[in-house]
Symmetry: C2
Subunit: 346 residues, 2 copies
């Protein structure tokens, strides 16, 4: 998209010029988007469905490092991460607002890349960009995304509905995003020490993509609906499996048994974790950023999911007083903690 032309500074264009540039390619497609960008507020129509709202802040130096995150991927990921929260309610995402704070020295073309990524995510998930804010930033790049979705009241799944005996399920596989991050960080350090050395990421596409380009699991929400399964509780895995399962247990006032051997870990995640002397299970429990869906279902629904490759049963819900337990591959029982599994590692 750069056409070999020189880059343009934002301050040559001004805020309104920047907004015009960004919004000229935005088309509303969702029936529920009555009014998008261009007024004081967007106007949405969810008729007899409930409105869902989730918001995230992504800050340079905390959530991303522009030295190895391409801006297009960053825009894409920022949207995915936020949509994931709507899907984790068993709802349909339909709109986002996308706000950025950016240095006035940032080239316009870089801002365009960011929006190209964000709009790509919108397109893929059938979501409209309906607003946002653009601002100069005196410091690093700031991204704020708010997702809006809708669902029938009876379809919404909260974190607090898990009951004793329910099966704990997770989509996809875990730990990959964290191991991918270790790989990117290592290559960054090597590059900083010697810029002549090209990054060695060959054959690691899967875990690099898990980190740079996660995909919100709308497909799982669609699948559960097709299978006529309403989970009893659900959450997305942003902070690591352990932390998320503890949220479900605490809010549902229940315990759990989680089986280490059942936790789905991709072979590349496993092998690369080992290269870094990391325990693959700890990466899955505490790594985070996988954006898979963790949910509980009634035992009666087991038959419907047992042959679905994208869903793995990893344990079950117990009564509150049984505690929140991790059963290791060797059969030992450990309390599940949000820091992962430190007592177990040594």
């Amino acid at each position: 998209m750069f056409d070999n032309k020189d880059t343009t500074n934002i301050n040559q264009l001004g805020e309104f010029g920047l907004i015009d540039l960004i919004t000229k390619s935005v088309v509303l497609k969702e029936a529920s988007s009555l009014k998008g960008i261009g007024d004081d507020a967007a106007v949405l129509d969810f008729k007899n469905e409930k409105t869902l709202i989730s918001t995230d802040l992504l800050l340079e130096g905390i959530h991303f490092d522009l030295r190895y995150v391409p801006l297009k991927h960053l825009g894409y990921k920022a949207v995915q991460v936020n949509l994931s929260d709507i899907y984790a309610m068993n709802a349909l995402a339909s709109q986002i607002t996308f706000s950025i704070g950016v240095s006035s020295k940032f080239p316009i073309e870089a801002v365009e890349e960011l929006y190209v990524g964000a709009l790509l995510a919108c397109d893929k998930f059938g979501v409209d960009l309906i607003g946002g804010d653009t601002s100069a930033s005196a410091q690093g790049l700031v991204i704020s995304v708010t997702s809006i979705g809708h669902a029938k009241a009876a379809d919404i799944v909260y974190r607090n509905g898990a009951s004793e005996g329910d099966l704990i399920c997770v989509s996809g596989d875990l730990g990959g995003a964290y191991v991918g991050l270790q790989l990117l960080e290592r290559e960054k350090m090597i590059f900083l020490e010697n810029p002549e050395i090209q990054p060695d990421l060959e054959g690691k596409d899967y875990i690099i993509e898990r980190q740079l380009k996660p995909e919100a699991r709308k497909d799982i929400v669609d699948l559960l609906r097709d299978l006529k399964i309403k989970p009893t509780s659900m959450i997305d895995v942003s902070d690591g499996l352990a932390s998320e399962l503890l949220h479900i247990c605490n809010q549902s006032e229940r315990g759990c048994k989680l089986y280490e051997e059942k936790i789905p870990i991709d072979p590349m995640t496993y092998d690369t974790a080992r290269e870094f002397n990391l325990d693959p299970t700890v990466c899955a429990l505490s790594g985070g950023e996988d954006y898979e869906l963790l949910f509980s279902i009634k035992q009666a629904d087991y038959e419907k999911i047992k042959n679905v490759p994208e869903i793995t049963v990893i344990g079950h819900i117990t009564e509150k007083n049984s505690g929140k337990e991790l059963i290791s591959k060797s059969g030992q029982v450990h309390p599940l903690t949000a820091q992962g599994w430190n007592a177990f590692r040594g």
Copy 2:
């Protein structure tokens, strides 16, 4: 609220501890708030009304200077500024999300002050805090607010509905926030040069408050409803009267005549602008941050508002080809520009 105890760093508390601290005082009061903080997304119920969404990003060093902005005021203002966008659609604001990025060295008590201010604004305007995000920031303080509101489809007022002959009205008075900012900036410079000198802001409360503690004009939306007036177009004055009126004209595909002598300017704003050798009219046209409502009404509604002290008629809408004009006090005609009025100042 500090009880003379030592301050606590955020990193002693952690993100979840911080969220618990912030949210323990949050109570949902709005009937439309089905689920607030504590799940992947909030759930709202607007029944047969439309959903409105607006979002703002506020960045340290761009939108505020912590050297003279108290954090409680900042939290209050951040919410007001955003609610103002919902009122500018002639809608009722009912929820906000409030996200912050803050240095881990920031004391918890400072974060609490920020939320005390935000919650004060929520309380005053009958709005629920339903979510947000808290993050470490590697740079300055970052605040992101999303406001959610609702309205019957027929009540929503856009920027594009002004017709020839409509009267242009504005609430309150203009320019005060900008002049208040000049005053605060001057005292900051004096203080930086000589910290012994106390700020001299005596008797300037009104314009200081206009800058530090603006009030969104929900009262005007309520008043218009009571008077059975539906504006033909409306916008809030965040960037200055000129810029906002041009938005209405451009989106409505109309011209305007704006009369300088009609623009409401408070005497303190006027006198202080003069002290700074600023033209008070330019402060009103280009200063911004007044968060008053600018709107057009049909001529037939004039009788209903002519004795309302809080509303001033400042001009009228013309056909598109008549241009967008400012009529000076001496009767000269100038094109209205978003930079204010530069051609006229010399």
